[in-house]
């Protein structure tokens, strides 16, 4: 490292920064991983939104004539991804299935994030006994393996898509709570918070307008990564038989699981939904990962 470079680091940002978010966006646009992730996620979201328009068949349309010669005809010009064991077009089901995965991901992360952030901020800001009680509760939740906890919650709430989303969301509460609490603890004694307190800003608005905005970037990163985990976990629950009670619904995890017995004759029926899950999860993971780097204050100001 040359002396000029060293000096550059000591002096601070070498590039003018236009605020954390502006700069993060600038860095994201240069990150190849982020771009690939963005493309994957766009495909996923477009498939979900446009499924009724672009899907060549309905998700439940059956053509039994196609499977009279055994299960199951592979990819052809009429059915790009082949036909499943009930004579339904696999491509159409994958496209429709994107809707479920998207909703599942968004709802469960919203549940986990909002409850987790609320609990974590309360614990971090008030400290003392409140902090102790909340964080011990989080410890207890973390002591149960995540998937078992989710299975348990589905068992209590009963089967159903909504219940599954809640279960998967709840398992991520402690992660968000810990993250935001740690972040707030490090902010609580910061100079700008002290300054705000000394001029008499009320507690609630210190938390809301000074501390939280400065603590939120790790939560956004974690939220993006959790979208991937949620999609994967829901598929796992479906695999264990705790999925959607309606087997006709084109949910990816259920599609993968229900075709398990045709693995010999038609492996593509398991592989295609599997790849769909991997691509959507990978998309969110790539974006989350790039966001983490783009928002990292330690890397700020470097071109």
């Amino acid at each position: 490292m040359s002396i000029a470079e060293l000096e550059g680091q000591l002096v601070g940002p070498t590039v003018p920064t236009g605020g954390l978010w502006h700069e993060a966006w600038r860095r994201l646009r240069r990150d190849r991983g982020a771009i690939v992730g963005f493309i994957f996620v766009c495909c996923f979201v477009l498939a979900a939104v446009l499924a009724p328009i672009i899907a060549p068949y309905g998700p439940l349309d059956q053509d039994l004539a196609l499977i009279t010669k055994g299960c199951c005809p592979g990819p052809s010009s009429a059915h790009w991804f082949g036909v499943d064991q009930l004579g339904r077009d696999e491509l159409s089901r994958i496209l429709w299935g994107a809707r479920y995965s998207l909703i599942i991901g968004v709802v469960s992360v919203t549940v986990g994030l909002s409850i987790g952030v609320t609990l974590g901020s309360i614990a971090g800001y008030f400290g003392g006994a409140v902090d102790n009680i909340i964080m011990r509760l989080m410890d207890i939740m973390l002591a149960i393996p995540g998937l078992l906890l989710a299975i348990g919650i589905v068992a209590v709430l009963g089967p159903g898509l909504f219940q599954i989303m809640i279960a998967v969301g709840v398992t991520s509460i402690p992660i968000f709570a810990r993250l935001i609490r740690g972040s707030i603890l490090s902010q609580r004694e910061a100079d700008f918070v002290l300054a705000a307190r000394s001029v008499g800003v009320p507690r609630r608005s210190i938390l809301g307008s000074h501390i939280l905005p400065n603590s939120i970037s790790p939560v956004i990163v974690q939220g993006t990564l959790s979208l991937a985990t949620a999609i994967i976990d829901v598929a796992g629950l479906a695999f264990l038989g705790l999925g959607d009670p309606d087997p006709s619904r084109p949910e990816w995890g259920a599609m993968l699981t229900n075709t398990n017995e045709y693995l010999q004759s038609a492996p593509f029926l398991a592989i295609i939904p599997g790849i769909a899950i991997v691509i959507s999860a990978l998309g969110f993971n790539l974006i989350g990962d790039a966001l983490r780097e783009a928002l990292d204050p330690k890397l700020r100001g470097r071109a």
């Binding site: 991983g33 348990g152 209590v156 398991a270 991997v278």
Partner: protein
């Protein structure tokens, strides 16, 4: 050090009490009791009442909780409702299977992840480095059970290289003094049995170890990158120490500290992931057993099993924290 251990052990007490209460009330919130699950279609109100009475479920809830705490403290976790065997006996049989699988997965993840991460850090910015980053992201994006199904299909069904289900071939005649099949084979000198058990472990361990592998490789890479630029590393290089020794003594030792923490965290995830892996490969371990118990409303199994796993998990984290102190003298003082 001793004070630290005692303090940490004392902190466990409220967690375990909270956990036992949580599990107890959660189980009683489950719709449909074990009586319905046992009797199924044949459930008449009288038969259900009889079973509830036999199991003590008609007593007041606080009495049930107290009875549960008392027997648990004695080390008695009750009798499984569906198999009618003591829960502790079942745990003794099944826990080794899960531990064996978890350890195998961890060995796979560590033996591949640490060198990969370290090499990627040494070649920072190279094609290998980029490939390792992308590869690790793909690794955490593949659902375990999907990978397990694919591995089973390719290597067991199609190629026939490895067994597809269970822990041991039917033809193998082996004794099991410890319950860890690989260890059993070695202890009894039955090398065939040990090798057979290892073969049964390979595919499940790869499937289960894929996520920790990705995470360990990333953490190792990131922390090796950090350490590489530390002053003491530069000093060591500057004074002419051979690169191999610098890597081993200065970079490796410090870079592995965060990896130790990750091992503890991953252990819990592995126990959860074991549910899926055990199901795909029909391994009679804790995970698939507990999932089944929840379906069957097998109260004693759920209570005992989840409590047991939670204790194990908390203990592993404690051990990880302690070993952290051993590895890093700097935090021992504070």
């Amino acid at each position: 050090m001793l004070r630290f251990i005692v303090r940490r052990l004392l902190l466990l007490v409220p967690i375990l009490i909270g956990l036992s209460i949580l599990i107890f009330f959660w189980i009683h919130a489950l719709p449909g009791g074990p009586a319905q699950a046992l009797l199924g279609e044949r459930a008449t109100p009288e038969a259900v009442a009889q079973i509830r009475h036999d199991l003590g479920l008609d007593k007041p809830i606080y009495e049930q909780y107290w009875a549960y705490v008392r027997t648990t403290a004695e080390g008695n976790l009750g009798v499984s409702i569906s198999s009618r065997r003591p829960v502790t006996t079942e745990i003794r049989e099944r826990f080794p299977a899960t531990v064996e699988l978890t350890i195998a997965a961890m060995i796979f993840a560590l033996s591949l992840g640490i060198p990969l991460g370290f090499y990627a850090a040494k070649r920072h910015g190279s094609a290998f480095d980029h490939a390792s980053l992308v590869g690790s992201l793909i690794g955490i994006s593949i659902p375990i059970f999907f990978l397990a199904i694919i591995l089973k299909y390719i290597f067991a069904v199609r190629l026939g290289w490895l067994p597809s289900i269970g822990r041991q071939s039917v033809l193998i005649n082996a004794e099991h003094p410890t319950g860890f099949y690989v260890l059993d084979g070695i202890v009894t000198g039955n090398w065939n049995a040990a090798w057979d058990a290892v073969q049964h472990l390979i595919l499940p361990a790869i499937a289960l170890g894929s996520i920790p592998l990705a995470i360990i490789a990333r953490i190792t890479r990131a922390s090796a990158l950090d350490v590489q630029n530390e002053d003491y590393v530069r000093t060591a290089r500057a004074k002419g120490m051979s690169p191999g020794i610098v890597d081993r003594r200065h970079v490796m030792r410090n870079a592995l500290l965060p990896v130790v923490t990750i091992i503890g965290l991953q252990f819990g995830l592995l126990l959860g992931g074991a549910v899926l892996t055990e199901t795909v490969f029909a391994i009679p371990g804790m995970g698939s057993w507990l999932a089944q118990a929840i379906f069957n409303r097998d109260y004693p199994v759920i209570q005992g099993g989840v409590l047991f796993l939670a204790i194990v998990f908390v203990m592993v984290n404690l051990i990880v924290d302690l070993s952290y102190g051993f590895l890093n003298p700097r935090i021992r003082v504070s």
